[in-house]
Each structure stands twice: as structure tokens, then as C-alpha cells.
Symmetry: D2
Subunit: 257 residues, 4 copies
């Protein structure tokens, strides 16, 4: 049986005159883009340009809403209520969808950003508010991309959403399937060969070795990759080639979820 | 032949803990609401609440995008390019539409706010960018509400949009159909009886007396009214009663445009 | 021996066209104002106007810096680093001080706002960063006003700052001297007579009965009062009259700290 | 008689995770820095870091306030009132000065940014508001750096401010001493040898050839240079060496104004 996996990357993170990311380079290798929606990064012009660039590269488009914190790039936790989580998500996804429609494509998925992602994947009250709002507003065709095995995906499945499990090439895992905090030693996998082995095992066997050495089951519909610098882009290319050489087909989520 | 007219008001202009406008009061009398989209006023929670309140009051919902200038309430002109005009409009209308969809209603119309309205109604390059983006993105069912007789409406009509001509109850007009600047004497009609006479004549005869005393033709699909204070709300009630007593039917734009 | 106490209130919380608070009313009764610095509330025009109004009412001026969160009014916690705490405080206090200097008065004190206050009063790493930056920048003449008995005041005293202990008229206390969270029952003292008794006892005896019924020692250099609505303003007047009738002199911090 | 000139550059224009400019490179050659104050660019952490870097490189520090328009980098005109011009300048300069004081140096000068500079240098009502506020607040020791020969400098001189005339290495001039708009052909001097000749003539002879070929008088206390990219930085080095080789001493404004 052929295995499929999607490669996703956060794009459209420039803002005004500020440039971030090598979007047009990394677009050559990925299958799905998470486009910033103007709160933690991105602005309306950048969103429009990035959607156009994704289309040109045959990359599927997702919305990537974040906290209202441009100064902190959406990485700092802000204490928000479920009503705020719902409204902040709706606002940003709606805004991005105007650009997918203006450019005649469908919005494929929603992936929350940074601290918004970390918090809502795991906190039931926020996760429920997000999932319910997606189901009511954007319908059951849109895909929710979130931390593999997380609460928010269980809730999404219950509500009839299409869901996709995201894994990370360069991050260590705890035995409960969460990521090891970046503040702890060993959180980042610097050895690229090891990272590729781990990805392949996640995709093919559905297993990952956690930071304490035990093996856990993990679902991997999409691998998060980065395009911040030439080395990162080159690593994406390597990942892709390794997976393909191993008989794994790389395609965007909507094709197999 | 029965005459129809819509009564529209700018709503949802609160922000965070800041309250503005007597939305729930003025909603009793109007037929269309222009809901702020978070840039010059409004925030995601306010947008959601205001859409719900409009539904409860059987008031149609429009998007009311403005300049990125909360500190100036979108009233100060900012020099923007056509690409920015397009993208800023798309972003905000898309954001608001997420809330109309979350609440199971259709977005009826788009009306730009403040300096964004004043500038884009009259400047062809900005107006074209706005109209084309509406046509491509939100389709030909949505109504563009703008200054009666303005360039942007001509362009809208050419592009097949549904268009609605807006008139102002309390403002003096120049002979070219533009509003007399608020900075000039006589710009505001303070005499309420006179204002009502003028509205009735605009709706029934399609005529208005300009500031220099000549009569011009004017189309009036919708009358802009205000709900900032008890006196303003009471004046909206008076306008409505006077129009109805005169056999004019008050209904929302989508019913007759 | 005569007892002194200061009455402080958060002012200048309007923003752009949005009005908040009855500043000119509450200014008649208080001795110190905490003026918002444009991040959680306030803007440069409001800051200038509020400083002028304070001078006219013989009210001392303090800076009231908050988190960068206008949408949440600075009440939501944001995870920040000590370096950010330092820089955010310096920025806002510096900005406000330009207006005290433009209007020829001295900045009397600094009081952090909302979640910035709650977090920095108690977390040593943030508190140290704030205190050290005040000492290095604004010198040892400026007064740090913070939660009575809190860590940040101990640090301030060690560093040679002038410090002032703040108490709350309408809040219940825990036995460790912190405020009972607003989310818990009994957090707010609604009985105004009781509130006044409690204030008098804090000022005269240095004691307060905590939520579990025990008495603790508490220092009270300044009482936080509110001017949000007519009832609140009237309560400030009542507090002032009661304290004065009891022989307590109401004067601004710089006169007795 | 020895001629003096200052080399100034806009620095501290990064924001949050976004990097802009090669500040640490260009600092090696310039004598004065204009540090962004958080409105059009910069944030409190960046301001603190940039002041420290300036000190390390023996570069004088000025405040560089701009319009409240991060998305447009302060380059788009916004219609503001004199009261807003005054308050926006005070706010930002006050904020930056907190960082010069925290780092034990004096603020040398104020130079407005982008559209705020272009508009206020020439419009008397805005210029007067700015100059008067500087004089009242920051005293007569601070230097106002603005377009050579502009109205704002005349006003500054009348009010007793120290003033400095700024010239541009790479820009064409109109016969009234204003810069040729960037939208017009010939606005930018691309020929670097010509640019250097023009600078030398401005500094040594006080003359410049305008775009229509006539010579006008021009005062040049400071030359605006750029550090956006390696080529720009290298050009700054070349300018400096050429001026020094010609016997012109490069030093910061406070040393000779």
C-alpha cells in the first residue's frame, strides 16, 4: 500500500517592508502552505502575493491564524477566553479566504500558529470553541491540521471535520505525544540524518522514539518544514527526496485526507 | 408606484472595553447595518455580537471596512495605492463575512468607511481596484453601497455589481453631487424638519437643493442615519415615521436593488 | 501623630474617539493620577490633555504603563521576558514623561497596569528588571507605587527607590497579602460601609481582615479608587470625607513618602 | 578654516523578529544615528539594543519619530493636525530618551521620519507645533535636524533651538531647495562619483546644481547615508574617506552646531 504524506510550511510571514522567509524557494518542494493572516505576521498585500505564489507552485493554501502580537510574532502566550479564541480564528481565516477566493482557489486547511497552536491543541475549552466555529462556518470540507494525536483533532473528528495529524522533523517528543519544550535540552534534533530516519519511521511505521527512549504510536499526515534560510530550504529538498526514494508519495492534504 | 428606501447605520464601532454607539436602540428602526471590521473600529468579539444583534432585529448586514487607523477612527486620509485599497477591502470584508457565515446569514452589502469611503468613491484608480476585487471575489450578488452618483457606483454598474446610491439626511450637497466638506459653513443641516423635507424630496422626487440654491437630480436607495446618542436615535425614529406616513416603504437593500 | 494617605486613580484611559472614565469628576477628590501610556489605553493627545487636567486639579501625575494589548485593555497576561518588562516600562514611562515636562511638572510616580502590575509585583525576575531600570533611568526621586507588601517594593527599597504601598478599598485579601482573584467568590467588597471601615482600619491601624477571617498587617500609603461612573465617583468623595472626618490627611505621595 | 560635517543614518528599524538594516556595519562610519521610536519601525527592545550599539561605536543618538504606520513604514502621508504632530513627536522622543538615559548618554538630536519629515519640514502649522513642543519640553540644547533650508529650521532658529541642515547624497534637488519627488525621473543620483562630487561641493562651497541645471546655495551640516545593504555600507565608507581626504572633518553634530 502506498503511503502518502504532505509537506507543510509557514509562509507569508513578511510584513510591510519587512521580509521573512524564502517563500519562493521552499514552495518548490512543499505541498501545503500555512499563510499568516496579519496578526502575528503577514499583511493584506503579502497575503495576496503569497496566495498567487502558492498557486503558481501548485501548493495548497491554508490559513495560519495567530495571536494579536506582531511584536512577539505570536509566540508568547496570551490568556484568552474560548469566545476570543473562536472570534480571533474566524476573523483571520475569513480574511485569508477572501484572498483564496479572489484568486479562484479553495482554502484547503486551517493550522493555528505558535502559542495559539500550542495552547489550543491541548486546552479543551479553547479547542472546542475553535472546532465548533470551524464546523459551523467553513463547513466539513476544510481540513484542520494540528499536533498529531492532540485533543483538538479528537474533537474535530467527533464534529465531523476532516483532520490531519502534523509531525515535526526536528523536534523531540514526550511520551504523551506532545513536543519537548524548546527550553529543555534535547528539544531540537540537530542531526539531519537522524531527523530523516525519524520522519521515515513516523510515516512508514507510525512510530517515534520519545526523549526518554520509549516508542510511541504517532500518526503523520503532514510534516512541518521550514524555509527561513538556504540551509533550511535545502533540508526540505533532502527530506522530500528521501521520502520519495523510499516510495512515499508527497501530496497535499486534500488529496488523501 | 410605491417608493422604497433603506435606512443604514454604522454599527459595531465599539472596541475592546470601549463602547461606542447605541447599537441595540438604533437597530429597532434601521434596515441595514454597516459593521466595522476591526481596522478603524470594531474587533472580532464585537463583530460577532453585532451580527447576532442584527439578526435578532431583522437588520441586514454589510461590511464596513476602513483605513488601518484605530487612533483616528479611519477619518484621516492615508495615501494608499490601488493594490493596497484592493487588499485592505478584501481582508476586512472577508473577516466580517466569516461572522455572517458563522451566524448563518448572507452578507448583504459593502460600504467603505470614513476617509476610505470619501477617497475611493471619487478616485478612479482606487475605485476600480475596489470594484474589480468585489466582482472577482464576492460575486455579483453582493451590493456596493456608496455615495449617490459617485464614480465608484458607475464602475460597479459597468462591472455588473448590484449598486445602491446612498444619501445623507443631515449633510449639504455641492452641485456636482458631492457632500460639502464638514470644514465649511452650512455643511451640516441642523434643522430636523428641513432635513426630513430634504430626505422625502430625495426619495420621492429624486431632487435635492444644493448649497448654492440650485436643484440637482439625486438617486436615493439608502439613507445614512446615526445612532450615537439618544437624540440621534430618536431622529432615526422620526425619519422612519415620516417616510412611512408619506407612503414610502422602508426595507433593506437586498429586497429592491 | 497625623496619618497621611494618598488617593490614586487610573486616568487618561480614553483612546482616539473612544471615551472612558469620568476623569474631570474624579480629579476633584484624588491626589495622584496614574495616566495610561498608549499601550493598553490612552494615546498621545489624551496623555497631553490628561496631564493638563491633572495640573488644573492639583493632582500629582504618575505613569501607568501596561501590556501591548489595547484589545484586552492590558488585563490579559502575556508571557514576557525580564528584558521585555524592562523595555516596555522604560518606553511608556519615557513617553509619558515627555508630556509632564511639556507641561512643566515632575513625574511623581510609576504604577504598572493590570496584568503587567499583577505579574511584576510578584515575579522576582520581572520585578528586578523593572526596579533596576527605574533606578538607572529615572533616578531615586521617583516613587514606585505597587501592591502593598509585594516583592517588587522590597526590591525597590533595597535599590534605594522611594516606594509606596497601595491598598484597595473594594477588594478582599488573602493571608499572604495578595488580592483574592476576581474569579473567586467574595473577591469584591460590595458593601460600601464595610469598605470604608476596612480602609480606615488599614490606614489607622495597619491591619486588614483577610478572606479567611484572620488579621494581617498591611501598609497603606495610597488607596486605589475608581472613576468609571457617577456612583464610583460619589464613592471616592465619600471615602475622602470619611477619612478626613477621622483626622486622616489626604495628600499626594511625594509629600510624605 | 576646517570644514565639519556629520554623517547620519536611520537605524534601529528592525521590529520584533524582523530584521532591517546593517546597523552594526554602518555604525563604523557614521557619527549620528536616527533611531526609530516604535511607530513606523523599531520596538522597545530594539531601541535599547541600538542605543547600546551606538555608544559602543561612539555614534551620537537622535530620536527618529514617524507616523503611526508600521505597515507602511511611515512613508505614506496621513492627514494629521498640529496638535497630533506635537503629541506624536513628544511621545516618541520621550520614549527614546528613556533609553538614552537608561544607558547614560544624552539625546543629541531629533529628526522626523519619512512622510512625517516631508510634511512637517514644509507645512508651517505642523512645523510650528513641532518646534514649539521641542523648545518647551526638551530645551534648547537638543538639535533639530531637518531638510536643509526648510521652513521648520527657520522656525527652530527663531525659537532658539540648535538647528542642523541635512543634505542627501543620492537625491536631486529642485531650485527651491526641496528634493525632487522619487516618482519623477532623475530623482535619484545613481552615479556614485557624481554623488561624491556633489556632496563635496555642498560641504565645501555650499552649492548644489539643481535638476534644471541652475546652482543654488545649500547648507550642509549633516549628510544622510544608508546602511540597508553591503553596497550601501561600502558607499558610506567611500563618502567618508573622500571627505576626509579632502580635509573635511567628520564629527557628530553636537560638536560643531
Amino acid at each position: 500500500m502506498t503511503k502518502f504524506v504532505d509537506l507543510n510550511s509557514d509562509l507569508g510571514e513578511s510584513f510591510g517592508v519587512y521580509t521573512m522567509g524564502m517563500d519562493s524557494e521552499v514552495m518548490k518542494y512543499i505541498t501545503s502552505s500555512n499563510i499568516a493572516c496579519g496578526w502575528h505576521a503577514g499583511d493584506p498585500l503579502i497575503m495576496d502575493i503569497t496566495v498567487k505564489e502558492a498557486i503558481k507552485n501548485n501548493v495548497a493554501v491554508g490559513a495560519h491564524p495567530g495571536y494579536p502580537d506582531l511584536m512577539g510574532f505570536g509566540r508568547r502566550n496570551i490568556e484568552i477566553t474560548p469566545a476570543e479564541a473562536r472570534a480571533y480564528m474566524l476573523y483571520q481565516v475569513g480574511a485569508l479566504r477572501a484572498f483564496t477566493e479572489a484568486n479562484n482557489i479553495k482554502l484547503q486547511h486551517i493550522k493555528l500558529h505558535g502559542a495559539f497552536y500550542n495552547t489550543t491543541c491541548l486546552k479543551p475549552d479553547l479547542a472546542d470553541a475553535i472546532v465548533d466555529a470551524i464546523a459551523e462556518t467553513f463547513g466539513k470540507n476544510i481540513i484542520l491540521l494540528a499536533l498529531s494525536g492532540s485533543y483538538i483533532l479528537k474533537r474535530g473528528q467527533e464534529k465531523g471535520l476532516r483532520i490531519a495529524h502534523e509531525v515535526f522533523a526536528d523536534r523531540a517528543y514526550n511520551t504523551d505525544g506532545t513536543l519537548v519544550s524548546r527550553k529543555l535540552p534535547g528539544a531540537i534534533i540537530h542531526d539531519k540524518d537522524l531527523a530523516i530516519q525519524r520522519i521515515k519511521r513516523m510515516v512508514k511505521e507510525g512510530k517515534i522514539t520519545t526523549i526518554d527512549g520509549t516508542d510511541i504510536n504517532i500518526k503523520s499526515d503532514s510534516i512541518c518544514v521550514h524555509g527561513d534560510n538556504p540551509e533550511a530550504v535545502s533540508f526540505v529538498k533532502t527530506i522530500k527526496e528521501n521520502l520519495q526514494a523510499d516510495g512515499i508519495e508527497i501530496k497535499s492534504l486534500a488529496n488523501f485526507i
